[in-house]
Symmetry: C2
Subunit: 200 residues, 2 copies
């Protein structure tokens, strides 16, 4: 921009918010204007929440989850079954699966194998996964990678690595989304749903 149209404080705040995913310069301006109109009673708690979160949140040394405790509240929860470990790409996938009734524990890879992006097994939390597979309580690993090429390549690689551990390896079911219309479904999903048909 040719000249500062707002005070440097506001401009700095807009530029920082504009870097968040889902927000561009225009929506960052709208958000900042909203905050300015609400005033310190809204901005101060947000600033405090940010500092507190920045100060307390760390990565769980067992599963890689983000939490204020290490090990995280899922790894230390005695009601969660340590026999079943759900392996996911990212914390966002853990958050998504936590909205299901899953009561096992998790392992976060921190990404997927990708020849294109130069991501190899040593860049992911795979060594610690193999280690957890060797623990006496571990019985099943659910590979819940995204249904992308890289995700499925990673799942195949992990299946190979887990081959001799005696741990049962499963994957999420493919099929018709609940509430979805067949007409709008891609052919691959529809074929998978047909092949995996169940007695009514």
């Amino acid at each position: 921009m040719p000249r500062p149209i707002v005070s440097p404080e506001i401009d700095g705040l807009i530029q920082q918010l504009a870097k968040l995913p889902g927000l561009g310069p225009r929506s960052a301006r709208r958000a900042v204007l909203h905050l300015l109109k609400k005033g310190p009673s809204v901005m101060e708690p947000l600033a405090r929440a940010l500092s507190e979160t920045a100060a307390t949140i760390r990565s769980c040394s067992i599963c890689g989850n983000l939490d204020s405790n290490d090990p995280c509240h899922i790894c230390t929860d005695p009601r969660r079954d340590p026999a079943i470990i759900c392996v996911v790409e990212d914390v966002s996938d853990l958050w998504a699966l936590e909205r299901t009734a899953f009561k096992g524990r998790y392992h976060i890879l921190g990404g997927v194998l990708s020849a294109l992006d130069g991501v190899g097994p040593e860049d992911l939390n795979i060594a610690s996964l193999i280690e957890r597979a060797g623990l006496p309580e571990t019985q099943e690993m659910i590979l819940a990678m995204n249904a992308t090429v890289d995700g499925q390549t990673t799942a195949h690689y992990i299946t190979d690595r887990l081959h001799n551990t005696g741990v049962k390896v499963t994957r999420l079911a493919h099929g018709v989304p609940v509430g979805g219309e067949l007409d709008y479904l891609d052919d691959g999903t529809l074929s998978a749903a047909m092949n995996a048909r169940l007695p009514f």
Copy 2:
């Protein structure tokens, strides 16, 4: 949600961000996850920017602009022409007009007249506008309200109030947007552009 899936710090941050315009629960989760991955080096400056802005920004007592100084940097800038005052609904309109080459000053109404929402003249910064119209340096007022029914009602009301002040009252031109295609334009704009045609 039936149970906390994330630590209370993260959850609180998500809920506060989800209240911003343009962000819902899902995009707030994405934004928070992005912040958590970037860590304190990104979160701390954002928290600081928020507190500093909350502490320093106030409303300009002359024009209603939001700035760290009162009067604001536009009202005190000697290079800006005090003879021309652009009247806008909101600070966001001022920010938009500051991207043009306009070199006059502003007056922010803080809304528009609305019988439906019960907004009357006394709820807007109209008294101070009339006062500014009476100052010897004021020569022109540009009514840059939105081209909505309420915006235009407000413009008409202000025109009436300014009738006897001797100040020239103007409005923004209607017409074809620069880069716009005639075929996609609404009929009202197209008619206005035709009626306001200029020699080539």
